[in-house]
């Protein structure tokens, strides 16, 4: 038996609200499965469980109450401990009522607790879409069905993009019946596909909690973290011009042969070069905690992603140095999309060992980034600009990027930081090795 506590989802997180449970008593949970959604100052974060367990009891109900990090929220037992309610597949024991027309329940994998919940809420399990492991019906599936059937009509009360609103108005669609693909609940045009033909109550509706000013909460979180950084961390700053001619030429050729969906952006190259270089300079990769530096063996690269409508998050690409360029691009695309839609996972928000900011193609020439505590370094890329550059004694026009490093002087000196920048430059001159 073990207690599952509210994890820290970021170094600056003190508390969070458990907004929904995705599992319930009796449910089997696989390692890495998302078990709950927690609202933090950085948005709604999906909390994973890192063991194979069975849920014994939920100790906290979903709601708006702020819980301190470390609060026990559930009791689990390990998957091999026996227990009375440990069945995950169910004999088809539910008696079919005579005369009712139901989809055969045998076709659906559903645990007794979920079936019980469905029964309590008056949900016909045959109509519920199954999204759980192995096609099983989860608690969330049941709850979605309830929300869908009880969603209030009236397009004015629903959050939607201007385009989605216009399409709904033109087509006489009820926005309340649409399912938002984003967790902030904002409906976009694509969410309306098929709505015209849908019968009321057939679409699940997902959305964030209305009424909470999330951008203000995020602003406060950034403020706390950056105040602490500037108060505690003696930054030093380094700047180096890097010639991207070889990298970009190589990338152009690489992309030419590929379909658009497999295209790799220069940002992936910059991230890979940074991650590889950081494996050589361990003193720039890790955490400063209570006066001691803890080096991290693997590079969990925090990637600063600006959010539409303001705010910033820097979730981690885990073990970034081990990824191929294609994997890096895939990870980056996925991370940016989920960051902007508010669907980040707990592990991504808590395990960054170093950060990279400003992925370079727009905006300013160079950045002077601020370290995210308890990390000890942050790398910044400015935009790539065609500039005069001396190559072998000749003046040439080359695509140049300013790469900057801000690092914690308590842990390293400028010499180490300079070597890191040199290593990144060296790697970018051999893109085929990345």
């Amino acid at each position: 038996m073990s207690e599952f506590v509210l994890p820290s989802l970021g170094a600056d997180m003190d508390d969070g609200a458990l907004v929904s449970w995705l599992v319930g008593p009796g449910d089997a949970v696989e390692r890495g499965q998302i078990v709950a959604e927690v609202e933090t100052d950085k948005g709604i974060i999906e909390v994973e469980c890192w063991d194979d367990v069975v849920v014994e009891e939920l100790l906290v109900e979903a709601g708006d109450t702020r819980l301190a990090v470390g609060t026990p929220i559930a009791r689990f037992r390990s998957a091999d401990e026996s227990g009375s309610a440990a069945q995950t597949t169910v004999p088809d024991e539910t008696p079919q009522r005579q005369g009712t027309v139901e989809k055969p329940a045998a076709a659906q994998r559903i645990t007794p607790p979920v079936r019980h919940l469905a029964h309590e809420l008056g949900v016909d399990v045959g109509r519920v879409g199954a999204t759980g492991p192995g096609g099983s019906v989860t608690r969330l599936d049941v709850k979605r069905e309830v929300t869908a059937t009880s969603a209030p009509p009236g397009n004015g009360r629903v959050k939607a993009s201007p385009l989605a609103r216009r399409i709904a108005a033109d087509g006489g669609l009820d926005l309340a019946l649409a399912a938002a693909s984003r967790t902030d609940g904002l409906l976009v045009a694509a969410d309306l596909a098929g709505l015209a033909n849908a019968a009321p109550g057939t679409k699940p509706r997902r959305g964030g909690q209305p009424g909470v000013d999330k951008s203000q909460a995020m602003r406060s979180a950034i403020a706390r973290s950056m105040e602490r950084s500037k108060r505690e961390i003696p930054h030093y700053y380094l700047d180096m011009r890097m010639d991207l001619h070889r990298s970009l030429s190589w990338l152009e050729e690489f992309n030419d042969e590929r379909s658009i969906a497999d295209r790799i952006l220069p940002a992936a190259l910059l991230l890979k070069a940074s991650a590889l270089a950081l494996t050589e300079f361990g003193d720039l990769n890790g955490h400063w905690v209570d006066g001691v530096f803890h080096h991290s063996e693997i590079v969990n690269l925090g990637v600063a992603v600006s959010l539409r409508g303001g705010g910033l998050v820097a979730p981690a690409i885990r073990d970034a140095a081990s990824l191929t360029l294609s994997e890096m691009m895939e990870a980056l695309t996925d991370l940016v999309a989920r960051a902007r839609a508010g669907r980040l996972r707990g592990s991504e928000m808590a395990e960054q060992t170093v950060t990279v900011t400003n992925l370079g193609d727009r905006g300013v020439d160079r950045t002077f980034p601020v370290i995210v505590p308890p990390q000890v370094a942050i790398i910044g890329f400015g935009r790539v600009v065609d500039s005069p550059f001396v190559v072998d004694g000749e003046l040439e026009v080359r695509p140049i990027v300013h790469t900057t490093l801000a690092a914690d002087h308590r842990v390293t000196d400028g010499h180490t930081g300079g070597l890191l920048l040199l290593a990144i430059d060296r790697l970018l001159q051999e893109p085929q090795q990345l």
């Binding site: 385009l163 045009a189 030419d256 658009i260 940002a267 539409r308 409508g309």
Partner: protein, 82 residues
């Protein structure tokens, strides 16, 4: 595919990427870069979305045809299967 149909699709894809944009305020003949806050990732996702929605393949060398809404629509119309 007509130009209007192409534009409807193009705006729908854009809506998924930049939902704060009011399509009615976007100038069709002005570069998107000057009007909207799109980074290279957004732009790439926009092209991928248009390609998926229309079945039109968009090789890298043609990405520069997509700087404006008019340009994007013209490309899609001329490359769409009849």
């Amino acid at each position: 595919m007509t130009t209007d149909e192409a534009k409807a699709t193009i705006f729908e894809v854009l809506d998924g990427i930049a939902p704060e944009v009011d399509a009615a305020t976007v100038e069709h003949d002005v570069e998107l870069d000057e009007q909207l806050d799109l980074d290279s990732m957004d732009f790439l996702n926009w092209l991928i979305g248009i390609s998926k929605a229309t079945g039109v393949d968009i090789p890298q060398r043609d990405a520069s045809e997509f700087l404006t809404i008019d340009g994007a629509a013209a490309y899609v119309v001329s490359h769409a299967a009849a």
